[in-house]
Protein backbone atom coordinates (compact mmCIF):
# COMPACT_ATOMS: atom_id res chain seq x y z
CA UNK A 1 0.00 0.00 0.00
CA UNK A 2 1.46 3.37 -0.97
CA UNK A 3 1.94 5.99 1.72
CA UNK A 4 -1.06 8.31 2.05
CA UNK A 5 1.32 11.17 1.61
CA UNK A 6 4.91 11.19 0.50
CA UNK A 7 6.97 14.35 0.50
CA UNK A 8 10.53 14.42 -0.70
CA UNK A 9 13.06 17.20 -1.01
CA UNK A 10 10.43 19.87 -0.56
CA UNK A 11 11.73 23.43 -0.37
CA UNK A 12 9.96 26.74 -0.50
CA UNK A 13 11.42 30.18 -0.89
CA UNK A 14 8.85 32.97 -0.88
CA UNK A 15 9.10 35.88 -3.29
CA UNK A 16 10.43 37.91 -0.36
CA UNK A 17 13.49 35.67 -0.39
CA UNK A 18 12.53 33.99 2.87
CA UNK A 19 13.25 30.29 2.85
CA UNK A 20 10.25 28.85 4.65
CA UNK A 21 11.00 25.17 4.01
CA UNK A 22 14.46 23.67 3.75
CA UNK A 23 14.29 20.18 2.31
CA UNK A 24 11.39 18.37 3.92
CA UNK A 25 11.17 14.58 3.61
CA UNK A 26 8.17 12.96 5.17
CA UNK A 27 6.07 9.85 4.67
CA UNK A 28 2.66 9.54 6.23
CA UNK A 29 0.91 6.21 6.33
CA UNK A 30 -2.74 5.68 5.65
CA UNK A 31 -4.94 5.96 8.72
CA UNK A 32 -2.30 7.74 10.71
CA UNK A 33 -2.83 10.81 12.86
CA UNK A 34 0.22 12.95 12.41
CA UNK A 35 0.78 16.06 14.49
CA UNK A 36 3.04 18.77 13.20
CA UNK A 37 4.45 20.88 16.00
CA UNK A 38 6.57 23.96 15.78
CA UNK A 39 6.79 27.52 17.01
CA UNK A 40 5.20 30.45 15.15
CA UNK A 41 6.68 30.86 11.70
CA UNK A 42 8.25 27.40 11.64
CA UNK A 43 6.68 26.57 8.28
CA UNK A 44 3.72 24.37 9.24
CA UNK A 45 1.14 26.28 7.26
CA UNK A 46 3.48 26.65 4.32
CA UNK A 47 3.92 22.88 4.22
CA UNK A 48 0.18 22.23 4.36
CA UNK A 49 -0.66 24.92 1.83
CA UNK A 50 1.80 23.49 -0.65
CA UNK A 51 0.29 20.02 -0.38
CA UNK A 52 -3.20 21.48 -0.83
CA UNK A 53 -2.35 23.62 -3.85
CA UNK A 54 -2.46 27.08 -2.28
CA UNK A 55 1.25 27.72 -2.47
CA UNK A 56 3.59 26.61 -5.22
CA UNK A 57 6.63 24.62 -4.08
CA UNK A 58 10.10 25.79 -5.12
CA UNK A 59 11.32 22.22 -5.53
CA UNK A 60 10.51 18.71 -4.42
CA UNK A 61 8.01 15.98 -5.12
CA UNK A 62 4.73 15.38 -3.34
CA UNK A 63 2.56 12.34 -3.88
CA UNK A 64 -0.88 11.90 -2.39
CA UNK A 65 -1.58 8.16 -2.63
CA UNK A 66 0.78 8.01 -5.63
CA UNK A 67 -0.75 11.00 -7.40
CA UNK A 68 1.62 13.85 -8.06
CA UNK A 69 -0.07 16.91 -6.53
CA UNK A 70 1.05 19.11 -9.42
CA UNK A 71 0.81 16.93 -12.50
CA UNK A 72 -2.16 14.88 -11.39
CA UNK A 73 -3.76 17.56 -9.28
CA UNK A 74 -7.33 16.49 -9.86
CA UNK A 75 -6.88 13.00 -8.54
CA UNK A 76 -4.69 14.25 -5.69
CA UNK A 77 -7.03 17.04 -4.61
CA UNK A 78 -10.07 14.78 -4.73
CA UNK A 79 -8.44 12.83 -1.91
CA UNK A 80 -7.57 15.84 0.20
CA UNK A 81 -9.63 18.01 2.54
CA UNK A 82 -8.29 21.20 4.09
CA UNK A 83 -9.31 23.22 7.11
CA UNK A 84 -7.04 26.25 6.92
CA UNK A 85 -5.67 28.15 9.86
CA UNK A 86 -7.51 31.39 9.18
CA UNK A 87 -11.28 31.58 9.44
CA UNK A 88 -12.62 32.31 5.97
CA UNK A 89 -16.26 31.78 5.20
CA UNK A 90 -18.88 33.19 2.88
CA UNK A 91 -20.69 35.34 5.41
CA UNK A 92 -23.88 35.73 3.38
CA UNK A 93 -24.37 32.05 2.63
CA UNK A 94 -26.28 29.64 4.80
CA UNK A 95 -24.50 26.80 6.54
CA UNK A 96 -26.29 24.16 4.46
CA UNK A 97 -25.68 25.92 1.15
CA UNK A 98 -21.98 26.43 1.73
CA UNK A 99 -21.40 22.77 2.65
CA UNK A 100 -23.35 21.55 -0.36
CA UNK A 101 -21.38 23.95 -2.53
CA UNK A 102 -18.09 22.49 -1.31
CA UNK A 103 -19.18 18.96 -2.13
CA UNK A 104 -20.15 19.88 -5.67
CA UNK A 105 -17.04 21.97 -6.19
CA UNK A 106 -15.08 18.78 -5.62
CA UNK A 107 -17.09 17.13 -8.37
CA UNK A 108 -19.27 14.96 -6.13
CA UNK A 109 -22.93 14.24 -6.61
CA UNK A 110 -25.36 15.84 -4.18
CA UNK A 111 -25.82 13.67 -1.12
CA UNK A 112 -28.27 15.19 1.34
CA UNK A 113 -28.06 12.23 3.73
CA UNK A 114 -24.31 12.52 4.00
CA UNK A 115 -24.44 16.28 4.52
CA UNK A 116 -27.09 15.85 7.19
CA UNK A 117 -24.97 13.35 9.06
CA UNK A 118 -21.95 15.61 8.80
CA UNK A 119 -23.84 18.63 10.10
CA UNK A 120 -25.32 16.60 12.93
CA UNK A 121 -21.89 15.26 13.90
CA UNK A 122 -20.59 18.80 14.05
CA UNK A 123 -23.63 20.09 15.95
CA UNK A 124 -24.55 22.38 13.08
CA UNK A 125 -27.76 20.76 11.91
CA UNK A 126 -29.99 23.10 13.88
CA UNK A 127 -28.19 26.04 12.29
CA UNK A 128 -28.24 24.77 8.72
CA UNK A 129 -30.59 27.51 7.48
CA UNK A 130 -28.75 30.31 9.26
CA UNK A 131 -26.39 32.71 7.60
CA UNK A 132 -22.79 32.03 8.47
CA UNK A 133 -22.36 35.60 9.65
CA UNK A 134 -24.75 34.85 12.52
CA UNK A 135 -22.57 32.04 13.89
CA UNK A 136 -19.95 32.24 16.60
CA UNK A 137 -16.27 31.82 15.82
CA UNK A 138 -16.19 28.22 17.03
CA UNK A 139 -19.23 27.38 14.93
CA UNK A 140 -17.64 28.98 11.87
CA UNK A 141 -14.64 26.78 12.37
CA UNK A 142 -16.91 23.76 12.48
CA UNK A 143 -18.52 24.94 9.25
CA UNK A 144 -15.07 24.94 7.70
CA UNK A 145 -14.52 21.42 8.96
CA UNK A 146 -17.86 20.35 7.49
CA UNK A 147 -16.87 21.89 4.17
CA UNK A 148 -13.55 20.08 4.21
CA UNK A 149 -15.24 16.76 4.94
CA UNK A 150 -18.12 17.20 2.51
CA UNK A 151 -16.37 15.37 -0.32
CA UNK A 152 -15.30 12.48 1.94
CA UNK A 153 -11.56 13.05 1.69
CA UNK A 154 -9.04 10.33 2.45
CA UNK A 155 -6.52 12.77 3.81
CA UNK A 156 -7.56 15.61 6.06
CA UNK A 157 -5.39 18.60 6.92
CA UNK A 158 -6.32 20.50 10.05
CA UNK A 159 -4.24 23.63 10.45
CA UNK A 160 -4.72 24.50 14.11
CA UNK A 161 -8.24 23.13 14.31
CA UNK A 162 -8.78 24.01 17.92
CA UNK A 163 -7.43 27.55 18.01
CA UNK A 164 -10.12 29.66 19.64
CA UNK A 165 -12.34 26.70 20.43
CA UNK A 166 -13.58 26.10 23.96
CA UNK A 167 -12.56 23.10 26.04
CA UNK A 168 -15.72 21.13 25.51
CA UNK A 169 -15.67 21.70 21.80
CA UNK A 170 -12.04 20.77 21.65
CA UNK A 171 -12.88 17.41 23.19
CA UNK A 172 -15.65 16.95 20.64
CA UNK A 173 -13.18 17.79 17.91
CA UNK A 174 -10.80 15.18 19.22
CA UNK A 175 -13.48 12.53 19.20
CA UNK A 176 -14.46 13.54 15.67
CA UNK A 177 -10.85 13.13 14.59
CA UNK A 178 -10.74 9.69 16.19
CA UNK A 179 -13.94 8.61 14.50
CA UNK A 180 -12.53 9.77 11.17
CA UNK A 181 -9.44 7.73 11.77
CA UNK A 182 -11.58 4.69 12.46
CA UNK A 183 -12.95 5.14 8.95
CA UNK A 184 -9.41 5.06 7.64
CA UNK A 185 -8.96 8.79 7.09
CA UNK A 186 -5.40 10.01 7.40
CA UNK A 187 -5.14 13.15 9.48
CA UNK A 188 -2.39 15.70 9.56
CA UNK A 189 -2.84 18.45 12.10
CA UNK A 190 -0.85 21.31 13.43
CA UNK A 191 -1.35 22.64 16.88
CA UNK A 192 0.20 24.80 19.50
CA UNK A 193 -1.53 22.87 22.25
CA UNK A 194 0.94 20.17 23.01
CA UNK A 195 -1.59 18.25 25.04
CA UNK A 196 -3.58 17.98 21.85
CA UNK A 197 -0.75 16.22 20.06
CA UNK A 198 -0.18 14.13 23.16
CA UNK A 199 -3.83 13.20 23.28
CA UNK A 200 -4.39 12.41 19.63
CA UNK A 201 -1.31 11.84 17.53
CA UNK A 202 0.21 8.53 16.57
CA UNK A 203 3.29 10.24 15.33
CA UNK A 204 4.76 13.65 15.88
CA UNK A 205 6.95 15.80 13.70
CA UNK A 206 8.66 18.85 15.05
CA UNK A 207 9.40 21.53 12.50
CA UNK A 208 11.67 24.41 13.30
CA UNK A 209 12.88 27.16 10.99
CA UNK A 210 11.72 25.22 7.95
CA UNK A 211 13.37 21.91 8.82
CA UNK A 212 11.87 18.79 10.33
CA UNK A 213 14.09 18.24 13.35
CA UNK A 214 12.32 15.18 14.73
CA UNK A 215 9.80 12.68 13.43
CA UNK A 216 8.94 9.95 15.90
CA UNK A 217 6.16 7.78 17.20
CA UNK A 218 4.67 9.71 20.06
CA UNK A 219 5.43 6.94 22.55
CA UNK A 220 9.05 6.68 21.37
CA UNK A 221 9.48 10.40 21.57
CA UNK A 222 8.17 10.51 25.09
CA UNK A 223 10.24 7.53 26.13
CA UNK A 224 13.43 8.74 24.50
CA UNK A 225 13.28 12.31 25.53
CA UNK A 226 10.87 12.34 28.41
CA UNK A 227 12.19 12.94 31.91
CA UNK A 228 10.87 11.76 35.21
CA UNK A 229 11.16 13.56 38.44
CA UNK A 230 10.91 12.23 41.96
CA UNK A 231 10.31 14.72 44.73
CA UNK A 232 10.66 13.83 48.38
CA UNK A 233 9.18 16.04 51.08
CA UNK A 234 11.53 15.69 54.03
CA UNK A 235 10.48 15.75 57.68
CA UNK A 236 13.62 17.62 58.81
CA UNK A 237 15.46 20.17 56.66
CA UNK A 238 18.88 19.15 55.35
CA UNK A 239 21.80 21.59 55.28
CA UNK A 240 23.45 19.84 52.35
CA UNK A 241 23.16 16.64 50.38
CA UNK A 242 24.94 13.96 52.42
CA UNK A 243 27.96 12.20 50.89
CA UNK A 244 26.13 8.91 51.10
CA UNK A 245 23.83 10.08 48.32
CA UNK A 246 26.53 11.03 45.82
CA UNK A 247 25.51 8.17 43.48
CA UNK A 248 22.31 9.93 42.53
CA UNK A 249 22.13 13.32 40.84
CA UNK A 250 20.02 14.99 43.47
CA UNK A 251 19.00 18.58 44.02
CA UNK A 252 18.08 20.12 47.32
CA UNK A 253 15.54 22.94 47.53
CA UNK A 254 16.70 26.17 49.22
CA UNK A 255 14.50 25.41 52.23
CA UNK A 256 16.29 22.09 52.61
CA UNK A 257 12.94 20.39 52.84
CA UNK A 258 12.69 18.99 49.29
CA UNK A 259 14.96 16.54 47.62
CA UNK A 260 14.62 16.17 43.87
CA UNK A 261 15.84 13.35 41.71
CA UNK A 262 15.41 13.60 37.94
CA UNK A 263 16.24 10.95 35.40
CA UNK A 264 15.40 10.18 31.80
CA UNK A 265 12.84 7.51 31.14
CA UNK A 266 15.36 5.74 28.95
CA UNK A 267 17.85 5.33 31.80
CA UNK A 268 18.35 1.67 32.59
CA UNK A 269 19.79 2.03 36.05
CA UNK A 270 17.23 4.27 37.66
CA UNK A 271 17.05 2.62 40.96
CA UNK A 272 14.54 4.42 43.06
CA UNK A 273 14.26 1.50 45.46
CA UNK A 274 17.99 1.72 46.22
CA UNK A 275 17.76 5.44 46.75
CA UNK A 276 14.92 5.02 49.21
CA UNK A 277 16.81 2.30 51.07
CA UNK A 278 19.88 4.50 51.33
CA UNK A 279 17.79 7.38 52.68
CA UNK A 280 16.42 5.04 55.31
CA UNK A 281 19.93 3.91 56.22
CA UNK A 282 21.04 7.52 56.57
CA UNK A 283 18.07 8.21 58.80
CA UNK A 284 16.55 10.76 56.45
CA UNK A 285 12.79 10.52 56.87
CA UNK A 286 10.24 11.90 54.43
CA UNK A 287 6.57 12.53 54.83
CA UNK A 288 5.55 12.42 51.19
CA UNK A 289 6.82 11.70 47.73
CA UNK A 290 5.60 12.22 44.22
CA UNK A 291 6.81 11.53 40.73
CA UNK A 292 5.95 13.26 37.53
CA UNK A 293 6.76 12.65 33.92
CA UNK A 294 7.74 15.55 31.73
CA UNK A 295 5.11 16.54 29.22
CA UNK A 296 5.55 16.65 25.52
CA UNK A 297 5.61 20.38 25.90
CA UNK A 298 8.83 20.27 27.87
CA UNK A 299 10.30 17.86 25.35
CA UNK A 300 9.27 20.17 22.57
CA UNK A 301 10.72 23.28 24.16
CA UNK A 302 13.95 21.39 24.74
CA UNK A 303 14.11 20.29 21.11
CA UNK A 304 13.51 23.75 19.76
CA UNK A 305 16.20 25.19 22.04
CA UNK A 306 18.59 22.55 20.84
CA UNK A 307 17.65 23.35 17.25
CA UNK A 308 18.40 26.99 17.90
CA UNK A 309 21.85 26.18 19.17
CA UNK A 310 22.67 24.13 16.10
CA UNK A 311 23.97 26.24 13.22
CA UNK A 312 21.24 26.54 10.57
Amino acid sequence: MPAALSISGLTKTYASGLQALKGIDLQIQQGEIFALLGPNGAGKTTLINIVCGLVTPSSGLILAADHDILRDYRAARTLIGLVPQELATDMFETVGATVNYSRQLFGCERNPALIEKLLRDLALWERRRDLIMTLSGGMKRRVMIAKALSHEPQILFLDEPTAGVDVELRREMWSLVRSLRERGVTIILTTHYIEEAEEMADRIGVIHKGALIVVEQKSTLMRKLGRKELTLQLLEPLGAIPDGLRDWPLALSPSGLELQYSFTTADQHTDIAALLKRLDALGIAFKDLNTRQSTLEEIFVGLVREGDRRPA
Binding site: G53, L54, V55, R74, A75, R77, L87, A88, F106, E109
Partner: protein
Amino acid sequence: MSSWHFNRRGVAAIYKFEMARFRRTVLQSIVTPVITTSLYFVVFGSAIGSRITTIGGTSYGAFIVPGLIMLMLLTESLSNASFGIYLPKFTGTIYELLSAPVSSLEIVLGQSGAATTKSLVLGGLILGTASLFVPIRILHPGWMIAFLLLTAASFSLFGFVLGIWARSFEQLQFAPMLVVTPLTFLGGAFYSIDMLPRPWRMVTLFNPIVYLISGFRWSFYGKADVSVALSLACVTAFLAVCLGLIAWIFKTGYRLKN
Protein backbone atom coordinates in the same frame (compact mmCIF):
# COMPACT_ATOMS: atom_id res chain seq x y z
CA MET B 1 -2.42 17.03 -17.94
CA SER B 2 -4.80 14.78 -16.10
CA SER B 3 -6.72 11.64 -16.81
CA TRP B 4 -9.75 13.04 -15.05
CA HIS B 5 -12.82 14.23 -16.88
CA PHE B 6 -14.14 17.77 -16.97
CA ASN B 7 -15.44 18.74 -13.52
CA ARG B 8 -18.88 19.81 -14.66
CA ARG B 9 -20.37 19.74 -11.17
CA GLY B 10 -17.61 22.03 -10.00
CA VAL B 11 -18.31 24.51 -12.80
CA ALA B 12 -22.05 24.37 -12.06
CA ALA B 13 -21.35 24.95 -8.36
CA ILE B 14 -19.24 28.03 -9.08
CA TYR B 15 -21.82 29.35 -11.54
CA LYS B 16 -24.70 28.84 -9.12
CA PHE B 17 -22.73 30.36 -6.27
CA GLU B 18 -22.10 33.52 -8.29
CA MET B 19 -25.70 33.70 -9.45
CA ALA B 20 -26.84 33.41 -5.84
CA ARG B 21 -24.61 36.35 -4.99
CA PHE B 22 -26.27 38.38 -7.76
CA ARG B 23 -29.70 37.42 -6.52
CA ARG B 24 -28.81 38.67 -3.07
CA THR B 25 -27.89 42.04 -4.50
CA VAL B 26 -30.71 42.14 -7.02
CA LEU B 27 -31.67 45.64 -6.01
CA GLN B 28 -28.30 47.20 -6.75
CA SER B 29 -27.60 45.06 -9.76
CA ILE B 30 -30.91 45.35 -11.60
CA VAL B 31 -32.81 48.32 -10.28
CA THR B 32 -29.89 50.73 -10.37
CA PRO B 33 -29.05 50.28 -14.06
CA VAL B 34 -32.71 50.47 -15.03
CA ILE B 35 -33.17 53.74 -13.16
CA THR B 36 -29.93 55.08 -14.59
CA THR B 37 -31.06 54.21 -18.10
CA SER B 38 -34.35 55.96 -17.57
CA LEU B 39 -32.51 59.04 -16.37
CA TYR B 40 -30.35 59.02 -19.50
CA PHE B 41 -33.49 58.94 -21.60
CA VAL B 42 -35.09 61.77 -19.74
CA VAL B 43 -31.97 63.91 -20.02
CA PHE B 44 -30.48 62.95 -23.38
CA GLY B 45 -33.51 61.53 -25.15
CA SER B 46 -36.13 64.07 -24.23
CA ALA B 47 -34.51 67.23 -22.89
CA ILE B 48 -31.53 67.43 -25.27
CA GLY B 49 -32.64 64.97 -27.92
CA SER B 50 -35.71 67.01 -28.75
CA ARG B 51 -33.39 69.71 -30.06
CA ILE B 52 -31.43 67.26 -32.20
CA THR B 53 -33.46 65.99 -35.08
CA THR B 54 -31.98 62.74 -36.35
CA ILE B 55 -28.60 61.11 -36.77
CA GLY B 56 -28.28 59.15 -39.99
CA GLY B 57 -32.03 58.91 -40.26
CA THR B 58 -32.53 57.64 -36.70
CA SER B 59 -34.17 59.74 -34.00
CA TYR B 60 -31.65 60.78 -31.34
CA GLY B 61 -33.52 58.93 -28.60
CA ALA B 62 -33.34 55.67 -30.53
CA PHE B 63 -29.79 56.39 -31.66
CA ILE B 64 -28.40 56.36 -28.12
CA VAL B 65 -30.02 53.03 -27.13
CA PRO B 66 -27.20 50.75 -28.37
CA GLY B 67 -24.56 53.02 -26.86
CA LEU B 68 -26.36 53.09 -23.56
CA ILE B 69 -26.68 49.32 -23.48
CA MET B 70 -22.97 49.03 -24.27
CA LEU B 71 -22.07 51.49 -21.52
CA MET B 72 -24.00 49.45 -18.98
CA LEU B 73 -22.82 46.15 -20.37
CA LEU B 74 -19.15 47.10 -20.22
CA THR B 75 -19.17 48.59 -16.74
CA GLU B 76 -21.43 45.94 -15.24
CA SER B 77 -19.58 42.98 -16.77
CA LEU B 78 -16.33 44.44 -15.61
CA SER B 79 -17.36 45.25 -12.07
CA ASN B 80 -19.35 42.05 -11.53
CA ALA B 81 -16.67 39.73 -12.77
CA SER B 82 -13.86 41.57 -11.02
CA PHE B 83 -15.77 41.61 -7.76
CA GLY B 84 -16.57 37.91 -8.13
CA ILE B 85 -12.92 36.91 -7.94
CA TYR B 86 -11.68 39.80 -5.80
CA LEU B 87 -14.09 39.05 -2.96
CA PRO B 88 -12.85 35.50 -2.21
CA LYS B 89 -9.29 36.80 -2.45
CA PHE B 90 -10.18 39.50 0.04
CA THR B 91 -12.08 37.29 2.50
CA GLY B 92 -9.72 34.33 2.13
CA THR B 93 -12.36 31.91 0.84
CA ILE B 94 -10.28 31.57 -2.33
CA TYR B 95 -8.46 28.77 -0.49
CA GLU B 96 -11.30 26.46 -1.39
CA LEU B 97 -11.20 27.19 -5.11
CA LEU B 98 -7.44 26.72 -5.14
CA SER B 99 -7.56 23.43 -3.26
CA ALA B 100 -10.46 21.95 -5.24
CA PRO B 101 -10.03 19.65 -8.23
CA VAL B 102 -11.12 22.35 -10.67
CA SER B 103 -8.92 23.58 -13.47
CA SER B 104 -8.32 27.25 -14.08
CA LEU B 105 -10.49 27.02 -17.16
CA GLU B 106 -13.34 25.64 -15.08
CA ILE B 107 -13.08 28.43 -12.52
CA VAL B 108 -13.13 31.05 -15.27
CA LEU B 109 -16.00 29.31 -17.02
CA GLY B 110 -18.14 29.27 -13.88
CA GLN B 111 -17.29 32.78 -12.75
CA SER B 112 -17.27 34.62 -16.06
CA GLY B 113 -20.24 32.56 -17.23
CA ALA B 114 -22.26 33.92 -14.33
CA ALA B 115 -21.09 37.49 -14.90
CA THR B 116 -21.94 37.19 -18.59
CA THR B 117 -25.39 35.82 -17.81
CA LYS B 118 -26.08 38.71 -15.54
CA SER B 119 -24.90 41.23 -18.11
CA LEU B 120 -27.15 39.71 -20.74
CA VAL B 121 -30.16 39.86 -18.45
CA LEU B 122 -29.25 43.47 -17.76
CA GLY B 123 -28.89 44.25 -21.47
CA GLY B 124 -32.35 42.82 -22.07
CA LEU B 125 -33.79 44.87 -19.23
CA ILE B 126 -32.28 48.09 -20.54
CA LEU B 127 -33.54 47.33 -24.01
CA GLY B 128 -36.99 46.75 -22.52
CA THR B 129 -36.82 49.99 -20.54
CA ALA B 130 -35.62 51.90 -23.59
CA SER B 131 -38.47 50.59 -25.72
CA LEU B 132 -40.86 52.30 -23.31
CA PHE B 133 -39.33 55.65 -24.24
CA VAL B 134 -38.51 55.33 -27.94
CA PRO B 135 -39.52 53.04 -30.80
CA ILE B 136 -36.68 50.60 -31.42
CA ARG B 137 -36.14 48.37 -34.37
CA ILE B 138 -33.46 45.73 -34.67
CA LEU B 139 -32.39 45.06 -38.24
CA HIS B 140 -30.00 42.20 -37.49
CA PRO B 141 -31.14 40.49 -34.25
CA GLY B 142 -28.72 37.59 -34.72
CA TRP B 143 -25.75 39.94 -34.93
CA MET B 144 -27.11 42.02 -32.10
CA ILE B 145 -27.12 38.98 -29.82
CA ALA B 146 -23.67 37.97 -31.08
CA PHE B 147 -22.22 41.40 -30.27
CA LEU B 148 -23.97 41.43 -26.92
CA LEU B 149 -22.67 38.00 -26.03
CA LEU B 150 -19.12 38.59 -27.23
CA THR B 151 -18.87 41.92 -25.46
CA ALA B 152 -20.35 40.65 -22.21
CA ALA B 153 -18.10 37.58 -22.27
CA SER B 154 -14.90 39.43 -23.08
CA PHE B 155 -15.48 42.15 -20.50
CA SER B 156 -16.36 39.54 -17.89
CA LEU B 157 -13.05 37.87 -18.64
CA PHE B 158 -11.34 41.23 -18.48
CA GLY B 159 -13.05 41.79 -15.13
CA PHE B 160 -11.69 38.49 -13.92
CA VAL B 161 -8.17 39.64 -14.81
CA LEU B 162 -8.79 42.96 -13.09
CA GLY B 163 -10.09 41.24 -9.94
CA ILE B 164 -6.97 39.13 -9.74
CA TRP B 165 -4.70 42.07 -10.35
CA ALA B 166 -6.38 44.37 -7.83
CA ARG B 167 -4.89 44.53 -4.34
CA SER B 168 -7.46 46.96 -2.98
CA PHE B 169 -11.03 48.10 -3.53
CA GLU B 170 -9.67 51.34 -5.02
CA GLN B 171 -7.78 49.43 -7.66
CA LEU B 172 -10.89 47.39 -8.30
CA GLN B 173 -12.84 50.56 -9.05
CA PHE B 174 -10.04 52.04 -11.08
CA ALA B 175 -10.62 50.44 -14.47
CA PRO B 176 -14.41 50.77 -14.65
CA MET B 177 -14.43 54.34 -13.38
CA LEU B 178 -11.35 55.83 -14.93
CA VAL B 179 -10.90 53.84 -18.10
CA VAL B 180 -14.03 52.17 -19.35
CA THR B 181 -16.63 54.84 -18.59
CA PRO B 182 -14.64 57.69 -20.21
CA LEU B 183 -13.71 55.54 -23.19
CA THR B 184 -17.35 54.61 -23.65
CA PHE B 185 -18.50 58.22 -23.47
CA LEU B 186 -15.77 59.19 -25.92
CA GLY B 187 -16.45 56.10 -28.01
CA GLY B 188 -19.62 57.41 -29.59
CA ALA B 189 -22.16 56.10 -27.12
CA PHE B 190 -24.14 59.30 -27.47
CA TYR B 191 -23.01 60.62 -30.83
CA SER B 192 -21.74 59.47 -34.18
CA ILE B 193 -18.02 59.97 -34.53
CA ASP B 194 -18.82 61.55 -37.90
CA MET B 195 -20.00 64.52 -35.89
CA LEU B 196 -16.47 65.10 -34.54
CA PRO B 197 -13.98 67.44 -36.24
CA ARG B 198 -11.43 65.58 -38.35
CA PRO B 199 -8.37 65.39 -36.04
CA TRP B 200 -10.51 64.14 -33.18
CA ARG B 201 -12.06 61.51 -35.38
CA MET B 202 -8.57 60.10 -35.97
CA VAL B 203 -7.79 60.04 -32.26
CA THR B 204 -11.10 58.35 -31.56
CA LEU B 205 -10.21 55.48 -33.86
CA PHE B 206 -7.62 54.40 -31.30
CA ASN B 207 -10.39 53.87 -28.79
CA PRO B 208 -11.34 50.18 -29.01
CA ILE B 209 -14.80 50.84 -27.63
CA VAL B 210 -15.66 52.83 -30.78
CA TYR B 211 -15.65 49.54 -32.65
CA LEU B 212 -17.87 47.78 -30.14
CA ILE B 213 -20.48 50.52 -30.12
CA SER B 214 -20.36 50.99 -33.86
CA GLY B 215 -20.87 47.30 -34.56
CA PHE B 216 -23.60 47.00 -31.99
CA ARG B 217 -25.43 50.05 -33.35
CA TRP B 218 -25.14 48.65 -36.85
CA SER B 219 -27.03 45.54 -35.73
CA PHE B 220 -29.88 47.86 -34.73
CA TYR B 221 -30.04 50.47 -37.48
CA GLY B 222 -27.78 49.15 -40.23
CA LYS B 223 -25.48 52.19 -40.02
CA ALA B 224 -21.94 52.01 -38.67
CA ASP B 225 -19.10 54.45 -38.03
CA VAL B 226 -16.49 51.86 -38.91
CA SER B 227 -16.80 48.63 -40.87
CA VAL B 228 -18.68 45.83 -39.19
CA ALA B 229 -15.95 43.31 -39.95
CA LEU B 230 -13.48 45.56 -38.16
CA SER B 231 -15.82 45.76 -35.18
CA LEU B 232 -16.16 42.02 -35.04
CA ALA B 233 -12.41 41.53 -35.36
CA CYS B 234 -11.88 44.02 -32.56
CA VAL B 235 -14.18 42.22 -30.09
CA THR B 236 -12.72 38.86 -31.01
CA ALA B 237 -9.18 40.14 -30.59
CA PHE B 238 -10.04 41.57 -27.18
CA LEU B 239 -11.57 38.25 -26.18
CA ALA B 240 -8.40 36.47 -27.26
CA VAL B 241 -6.18 38.89 -25.31
CA CYS B 242 -8.23 38.33 -22.15
CA LEU B 243 -8.12 34.57 -22.56
CA GLY B 244 -4.37 34.74 -23.03
CA LEU B 245 -3.95 36.86 -19.90
CA ILE B 246 -6.04 34.41 -17.90
CA ALA B 247 -4.05 31.44 -19.14
CA TRP B 248 -0.88 33.23 -18.08
CA ILE B 249 -2.31 34.11 -14.65
CA PHE B 250 -3.14 30.53 -13.85
CA LYS B 251 0.08 29.21 -15.26
CA THR B 252 2.19 31.48 -13.10
CA GLY B 253 -0.19 31.79 -10.16
CA TYR B 254 0.12 35.57 -10.53
CA ARG B 255 -1.38 37.22 -7.42
CA LEU B 256 -3.23 34.01 -6.66
CA LYS B 257 -0.59 31.76 -5.19
CA ASN B 258 2.58 32.57 -3.29
